[in-house]
Amino acid sequence: MTEKPKLGVYICHCGINIAATVDVEEVTEYAQSLPNVVVARNYSYMCSDPGQLLIKNDIKEHGLNRVVVASCSPRMHEPTFRKALQEVGLNPYYLEMANIREQGSWVHEDREAATAKAKTLVAAAVAKVRLLEPLTSREVDAEPAALVIGAGIAGIQAALDIADAGFKVYLVEKSPSVGGRMAQLDKTFPTLDCSACILTPKMVDAANHPNIELLAYSEVEEVGGFVGNFDVKVRKKARYVDVSKCTGCGDCAKECRLANRFPNEFDEGLGKRSAIYLPFPQAVPAKYTIDPEKCLFLTRGRCGKSPKCVDACRAEAIDFEQKDEIVTFKVGAIVVATGFDVFDPAKKPEYGYTDYPNVITGLEMERLVSASGPTGGDIVVHNGEEEITPKEIAFIQCVGSRDQSVGNEYCSRVCCMYTAKQAHLIKDKIPDATVKVYYMDVRAFGKGFEEFYDRVRREGIRYVRGNPSEIFKRGNKLVVKVEDTLTATPLEDEFDLVVLAVGLEPRSDDRKIIDLLRLSQSPDRFFLEAHPKLRPVDTASDGVFLAGCCQGPKDIPDTVAQAKGAAASALIPLARGKVAIDAQVAEVIEDTCRGCGFCVSICPYTAIELVTINRMGHSVEVARVNEALCKGCGSCSAGCLSNSIQPRSFRDRQILPQIAALGGIR
C-alpha cells in the first residue's frame, strides 16, 4: 500500500435494534483507540441519507481512505455503503462491515457481553479493512434473448411480457402442448370464469408471437455460461409427425390400431387416448404426437401390414424416421416456470384412493366437471358396481398439505378455494346433491375469496370441521369416518363420491432443473428464492428467475403476478444490454498453481477451468476463473493445496489479521 490507511468507523444504532443491547458510545470510543482510525462515530441509522452523508463528509473532510460500518449483515446494505464510498470518489471495495446486529445485539441479551463482542467485531473489521485492495467491477454484453422453461400460465405470461418488450424468447415446454395445469382446470375461483376461455388466447398468442420461438415437446439439456450469456442446449423430442405438414385433423388417432387404449394424461387418466394423440382439443401447437412408448410400430417395429396412421394421414405427415433434434442458442436471462405436481393420495392409504374408483382427486374432479372432459361435463362415477350420478358428495381438505406425516408441512393455498368452487359446480349440475366439506381451517385470504366461500355456504354446502381418519366401503356407499371437532361428535357419513382436495407438491423431476441451473430448494422442496421478501422472483443464480408454482403453491392471479415480476426482472439485463460482474471473485496465482484441478471439481458454479499456459517454455495447465460465473464463495480456496486461488477481499493475508483480531491479537 502506498498511502497510509486512514480509517473511519461508523457504528449504527439501528434504532434500538443494536443500541438497546450494545453500548454504541463505548464501542465508538473503543474504535477511536484502534490503530489508523481517524474518526469514529455512531448514528441512529447509518443506512439513511444523513447516515451516509456522515461517511461521505468525513471522507472528504478527513481524507479517509478506508471505511468500516458496524451495523447489520452485509447482505442488505453492503451495496448501499459501497455506493456511498463511490459517490465521493473512494474505491467501493475499501469498505468492511462488522455485523453487530445479527451476530451481536439480536443474539445476545447481556449488554456487557454484547458490547464486548461488538468491540471485537469492530477490531477485526479494522484489522482487515487496512489490507483491502481497490477492485474494479467490469461489465459484459448481455444477449438480448430469454429462455422460459415451462409453458403453463406462468411461463406463457413471462414469455409474452418479455416478447412484448421486444426481446426474443425461447419458450421450452416438455409436453406436446403448452397450457400446463391451468388448461386442465374447468372454472376458476372466485370469479368462475372458464379457465380454457381465458388461457387459450394466451396459448395462441405465445405460439404466434413473432418474438417467441416455441419449443414444445422439448427439454432443456444443458445450461452453461452466466447471466447475460447463457448457452442453452435443448432437445426437441421426435414427435414422429412432421409438424409442418400435420393439419391436426385427427384421422390418425381415430384409425390408430391402439385407438383409445391408453389413459389420457391430460384427463388425469379418466379419459382414453390413442398411441398417436393430441393432448386436448385446444392444444397448441395443434399437432399430433406419437407416444414412442406405446406405438406398436415404434416399440415392436411393425404395426399390421402398415401403420394405420400413415394410411389415414392425408397430409403424409407421419414420419417414423424422425430423430430427436438438438437446438442450441444463447440467452441473457432464464425464467423457470416448471410448475408443480399434485399430491399422490396413494401416500395416504387410509383414504382408499387406490381401492375405490369413487374416491378421486381434486384435479380429476376438474376434468369430470369440465365440458371438454371425458364425460363432457356430466358428473358420473363408478362406485365399484355401476355408473352413477353421485347424490351425496364429500370433499376432504388438506390431503397432502399441512401434514407432517407425508412430509408436507406447508399449506397449498388453492385447495380451500378450488373445493368451494367444485362444490358450487356440483350444486350447479346436480341441484339435489348434498355436499359436505371436511376441513381443518378454511383459508379464504385472497381478493373475493371470503365472499365466494360465504356464497357457497349459502348455497347449502355443509362445512364440517374435522380431519377424516378413514374411508371405507359399506354396501355401495363410501363411509367417511370423522370427528366433528366443533361438536365433538364422531361421525360415519355415507357418500357416493369423495373428492380429495390434494395439495400441490414440487415436481418429481425438479432435480434435473436444480442440477441444470444450480438452484436451491427451501425446506418445503420448492425452488428457493434469493430473498423471501425482497427478491421473491430471483434465485441464487444470477439471471435465473422463478415464476409460478415451482417456487411454492400459488393460485392463478399470484402466478400471473409473479410471472410478470419474473419477466420484468429478466428484462433488466436484456434491456440494459450489459451485466455487471462482481469484482470480489476468486483469482488464480498462476505462478504457483500446479494445475491439479481440485478447484475445478470443487466449484459449485463451474466457474473454473484449466487452461494451458507457457511457463518458461513449458506448456503447463493452470486454473482460470470465469469471473462472470464466480460468486466468490471461496470453496476453491479451501481446496487448494498450494493456496494459489483466493477470493479477492478474502485473501489469506486479509482474513488472517481479521481472525487474529477476533482472538484479541492486534
Binding site: T592, R594, C596, G597, P604, S635, S642, N643
Partner: protein, 326 residues
C-alpha cells in the same frame, strides 16, 4: 526376480526415441544402500537392479526433477520418462495422474510385483558384518543374504519394512508392462500399525507426539521425498501469510507436520518415504497411515488406485448434505 529380463526390457525402453531416461535402482555407494539410477542409454542397464533393498519410491522424481527454463527458440523436451514401480510406487503414479501432476503420455510405467522390502537399517543392525559386500535376494517369502561367506537365510518377519508388513497392494495398480509374476497380497485389512498409539490416553498421546515432533530439525526431507508433495511453491515456505514460522521448536514443528498430514489426507498412498528418509526418526508413517485409514473407513475412499478417480473431497455435489455453499 529375473534381472536379465528386467535389464533387457529396460535397454529396449531407453533405446526408444520417445524416452528421455529410465528411472531405476542400482547399488549404492556403500553396503546395503541402494541409489536411484537415471539410465539414459542401453549401456547403463547392466547396473540396474531390483532387490529387496529397492525400497525408495522413484515416482518422487517425476515431479522433483526441475523443469528448467527453455531457451527462446528451443522446444521443451517432450520425451517420456520410464520408471520402475512397485505396488506402492504405482499408487503414487496413479494419484499423480488423478491430480494432473503428470500426464499419462509423459510416462512409461514398468510394473514390478513386490514381495516385500527389507528395512535397511534393521538389516544393517542385525547383519553388520556382511554389510560391505553382501547382496539381498528374495527366497520365496523370506530373504537371502548372499555374501562372500555363502548364503544366509533371513526370516521375512525379522527384517521386513513396517510399511511392507501393512501393505495391501503389492502388485502395481497401473503399468504399461509388468515384469515378474503377480504376488499374492498378504493383506492386513485393519492393521495400520497405529493401534498402539490409538490405545494411549490423550495426554499420553500428546506427550508421545510432543517428543517426536520436538526431534524434528525441519530439514524438510519428508516433504522432498514425498511423491505427492510437489507444489512448486509450498505454502509452508511462504512468508505472506506465514502459516508456519521458521523457528525450529515444538509448536512450529507440530504445525508443519500436521499441515503436511492434512494436505496428504485422502492423497497419501502409504509408501512410507517420509518416515524412511527422516534423519530424526519421527514415525511420520504412523501419522499418515492414521489419516489414510480414517479416510478409508469414514469415506470409503482409497487414493491412488484408479487414475480416473475423482480426487478426495475435491468435488461439488448438488445433493451435498452441507447447505452452506448455495
Amino acid at each position: 526376480m529375473d534381472l536379465d529380463k528386467l535389464r533387457k526390457t529396460a535397454a529396449e525402453i531407453v533405446s526408444r526415441d520417445d524416452v528421455k531416461y529410465l528411472l531405476g535402482w542400482r547399488r549404492g555407494t556403500f553396503g546395503y544402500r541402494v541409489a536411484p539410477y537415471f539410465i539414459e542409454d542401453a549401456a547403463g542397464v547392466d547396473e540396474l537392479i531390483f532387490s529387496p533393498l529397492c525400497i525408495s519410491n522413484l515416482a518422487t522424481y517425476l515431479t522433483l526433477v526441475e523443469k528448467l527454463p527453455v531457451p527462446r527458440g528451443q522446444e521443451p523436451d517432450q520425451r517420456k520418462v520410464a520408471l520402475l514401480v512397485k505396488g506402492c510406487d504405482s499408487r503414487a503414479v496413479a494419484q499423480l495422474l488423478v491430480e494432473k501432476g503428470i500426464k499419462r503420455e509423459e510416462v512409461v510405467v514398468i510394473g514390478l510385483p513386490c514381495p516385500g522390502m527389507v528395512d535397511r537399517e534393521l538389516l544393517a543392525e542385525k547383519y553388520p558384518e556382511t554389510e560391505a559386500a553382501a547382496e539381498v535376494k528374495w527366497d520365496g517369502e523370506d530373504f537371502l543374504l548372499v555374501g562372500e561367506g555363502g548364503e544366509t537365510a533371513i526370516p521375512r518377519t525379522e527384517v521386513l519394512a513396517e510399511k511392507c508388513r501393512l501393505c495391501r497392494h503389492p502388485n502395481p495398480v497401473i503399468s504399461d508392462l509388468t515384469i515378474g509374476e503377480p504376488v499374492e497380497p498378504w493383506a492386513t485389512a485393519d492393521d495400520s500399525g497405529v493401534a498402539e498409539i490409538e490405545a494411549k490416553e490423550t495426554a499420553e498421546r500428546w506427550a508421545y507426539w510432543e517428543e517426536q515432533f520436538s526431534k524434528c530439525i525441519r530439514c524438510y526431507s519428508c516433504r522432498n521425498a514425498c511423491p505427492l508433495c510437489y507444489c512448486e511453491d509450498c505454502i509452508l515456505d511462504r512468508l505472506d501469510p506465514t502459516w508456519v514460522n521458521r523457528a525450529v521448536n515444538f509448536s512450529e514443528n507440530t504445525a508443519f507436520h500436521l499441515a503436511r498430514a492434512f494436505h496428504l489426507a485422502g492423497r497419501c498412498i502409504e509408501c512410507g518415504e517420509c518416515e524412511r528418509v527422516c534423519p530424526a526418526g519421527i514415525p511420520l508413517g504412523k501419522l499418515n497411515r492414521k489419516l489414510a485409514r480414517t479416510v478409508r473407513e469414514e469415506y470409503g475412499f482409497e487414493p491412488g488406485l484408479d487414475p480416473e478417480a475423482e480426487p478426495f473431497q475435491a468435488g461439488y455435489k448438488p445433493d451435498d448434505p452441507e447447505e452452506f455453499i448455495l
